[in-house]
């Protein structure tokens, strides 16, 4: 019994203060930032894979004298969870543009002044439109990498002419042949777009129901809904899938081609959907000047050319990379097709009603 009492006392004494510290989410009493003039460090970066490249980190250190720690995440939501928990003090976070609202609404990121990021002017045209990275009228991030979502197909199994009509994905001949990833917003958006909604991010109610019904119809044709991008690639390369829909298609096609597979990326006449990834500053950073310098460095043509030709080979947003990449590299990254792509796609936007879309995706997964 004594033990019990002692523990009780301990619990009552410490718990209130402790719990307040642990369970609250964002500490709004903390200043939003510090050191906005002086370059201080090291800065902590939470990012998608690709940022922990020694050459990139070395370049920033040479430029500013500031060290960079990078933690790589496998998803937007893992990044949001870790920032939300706030245990490690990150300065920079790297969500997709469509996640801007979630971070900003949570009070986890800081608005930026576009004038502070000169490389924004060097971006390919569509990435200069910053409305996709805004919340409440303010800009929150700078774009780094991007990709195209369309239909990647094994040319021995499906011709480019066939893939030019998105409805082919629903064709019974592709039963069990399509691999996709668990990317809720993307597939709802694409299906809504292909059903003739010019602003697919706005669909709700009966329109959304129709979209989900259509999406459920494609399920028999799905080989797998993977949690990672690597698996769709190995499915395509090993013949388990003939088609990869979405899943950052240009990157999938690039890797599959490199592995010797005869594949093509086709944007159907109903159009493809682009995504982009951004760098944002975490609320409460103690190294604001260094964080801004990092964003400027990482969006520069030099850094993005290193990034583009690094491990993962995603396309990058800065048009100036042509100076640093060979013509062949530029072509392999599909940057030569960029005008054609822009003409045949829309930029993916976050849904107006996130909750309804989450419910819809759950419905699709459970069907």
């Amino acid at each position: 019994m004594r033990l019990h009492t002692r523990r009780d006392v301990l619990r009552h004494a410490g718990s209130a203060a402790m719990f307040a510290a642990i369970a609250s989410q964002v500490d709004f009493t903390r200043p939003a930032f510090a050191n906005d003039k002086k370059l201080t460090g090291p800065i902590n970066v939470l990012a998608w894979t690709g940022y922990d490249d020694p050459e990139l980190i070395k370049g920033f250190k040479e430029l500013t004298g500031v060290d960079v720690n990078v933690k790589e995440a496998q998803s937007n939501s893992d990044q949001l969870s870790l920032i939300r928990a706030g245990t490690t003090k990150f300065d920079i976070v790297n969500p997709d543009a469509v996640w801007t609202t979630k971070f900003a609404q949570s009070g986890l990121t800081l608005p930026l002044d576009p004038a502070d990021i000169p490389s924004l002017g060097e971006m390919f045209a569509p990435f200069r439109d910053l409305s996709d990275i805004q919340y409440d009228g303010k800009m929150y991030g700078a774009p780094t990498r991007f990709g195209m979502n369309g239909i990647v197909h094994d040319l021995d199994k499906l011709s480019a002419a066939d893939a030019a009509d998105a409805n082919v994905l629903w064709d019974a001949k592709l039963k069990d042949r399509i691999s996709i990833v668990n990317w809720a917003e993307l597939y709802i958006l694409m299906t809504a777009l292909w059903q003739g909604n010019p602003k697919p991010e706005t669909v709700v109610g009966p329109e959304l129901e129709a979209t989900i019904a259509r999406l459920v119809e494609v399920k028999p044709n799905l080989r797998a809904i993977h949690d990672d991008l690597g698996s769709v690639k190995s499915d395509l390369i090993n013949g388990d899938a003939w088609v990869v829909w979405g899943a950052s298609s240009d990157n999938v096609a690039r890797v599959a081609r490199e592995a010797g597979k005869n594949v093509a990326l086709t944007l159907p006449k109903q159009k493809g959907v682009m995504w982009m990834e951004t760098l944002q500053i975490v609320h409460g950073t103690e190294h604001l000047a260094s964080a801004m310098a990092y964003i400027n460095y990482m969006t520069s043509a030099k850094a993005l050319s290193i990034m583009a030709w690094g491990k993962e080979q995603f396309a990058v947003t800065n048009a100036g990379v042509s100076k640093y990449l060979t013509a062949e590299q530029y072509k392999l990254l599909d940057l030569d097709k960029i005008d054609e792509w822009f003409a045949n796609s829309i930029m993916g936007k976050a849904p107006d009603d996130e909750k309804a879309w989450a419910d819809a995706w759950e419905q699709f997964k459970a069907a």
């Binding site: 642990i22 496998q74 245990t87 990672d228 991008l229 690597g230 190995s234 010797g260 993962e312």
Partner: protein, 273 residues
């Protein structure tokens, strides 16, 4: 030997042979994927798959040149050893008491000990990262050790407990009531009795800690264990260099185990002679 014994012996031998065959099949099942992994470590294709392209050893060279892979491996071995030993150390006294004393709260304690294995790892990861807000300095290696000790202490306690259960009360009385020589009793009686379970526990705990990714990712900070490195390269295509390093892990540990076994057998033979 009576005539009646003969068929029984023969029957026994046949049964042993059947058992060995069955065990052989299960071992084949266990090593089938490993064979595939090793096979593709020597294949020239950048993405493992049939048909194979041709023999190469380049992936081994790449694996050893890859600082992240090799560094991750070293970190993982070190951290997994720590948490396996720690888990066993905190589990052993608890298992002894649970098995040998009439503890009224046994079920409560056991549920507390076992519960971590049912909670999905993402939940444990989030729970721990919230807990570590009270001590952010622990994030990194100490937090990984703590997390894996928590996850593996369940097996440790349960396996030790089930082993200790069957021992006669007289042993235990002797072991626990011999007065001043507690430590000696523990070392000379209890440890040898528990040895098979201790080996099993250390092996399992090490294995789980060595391979666990989800919880580790949450609490690792900037530390990179081997699973974190490997999961990190999932977005691209896993390089056969990972096959190569896996093949090396298997080969080295098999070789070490066989060598140790042979050495032990030689020692015991020499000791008897």
């Amino acid at each position: 030997m009576t005539a009646a014994d003969v068929p029984m012996r023969r029957h026994g031998r046949a049964a042993t042979r059947a058992l060995a065959f069955y065990a052989g099949l299960v071992f084949a099942f266990l090593y089938l994927p490993i064979a595939v992994i090793v096979l593709f470590a020597f294949d020239d294709k950048t993405v493992p798959g049939l048909p194979m392209a041709g023999f190469t050893t380049q992936w081994f060279a790449r694996a050893f040149a890859d600082g992240e892979l090799v560094g991750g491996l070293a970190t993982s071995v070190r951290l997994a050893l720590c948490s396996a030993v720690l888990a066993t150390a905190i589990a052993m006294p608890g298992a002894m008491v649970l098995a040998w004393r009439d503890v009224k709260v046994r079920t409560v304690v056991m549920c507390l000990v076992l519960a971590p294995i049912v909670v999905p790892q993402i939940v444990i990861g989030l729970g721990l990262i919230l807990l570590f807000r009270a001590a952010p300095g622990l994030i990194g290696e100490p937090a990984i050790i703590i997390a894996h000790t928590t996850l593996t202490a369940c097996y440790a306690t349960m396996i030790l407990y089930s082993r200790l259960l069957g021992f006669k009360r007289s042993y235990i009385e002797a072991a626990m009531d011999l007065g001043a020589s507690d430590v000696r009793v523990f070392v000379e009686i209890i440890l040898p009795l528990a040895a098979p379970a201790l080996v099993a526990v250390l092996l399992l705990a090490f294995t789980d800690a060595f391979g666990e990714y989800i919880v580790a990712w949450f609490v690792a900070g900037f530390t990179k264990t081997l699973p974190i490195v490997i999961w990190g390269s999932m977005r691209g295509v896993l390089s056969p260099a990972v096959n190569a390093i896996s093949a090396v892990i298997i080969a080295v540990s098999l070789a070490l185990s066989v060598a140790a076994q042979i050495w032990i057998i030689r020692q015991t033979r020499a000791g008897r002679a």
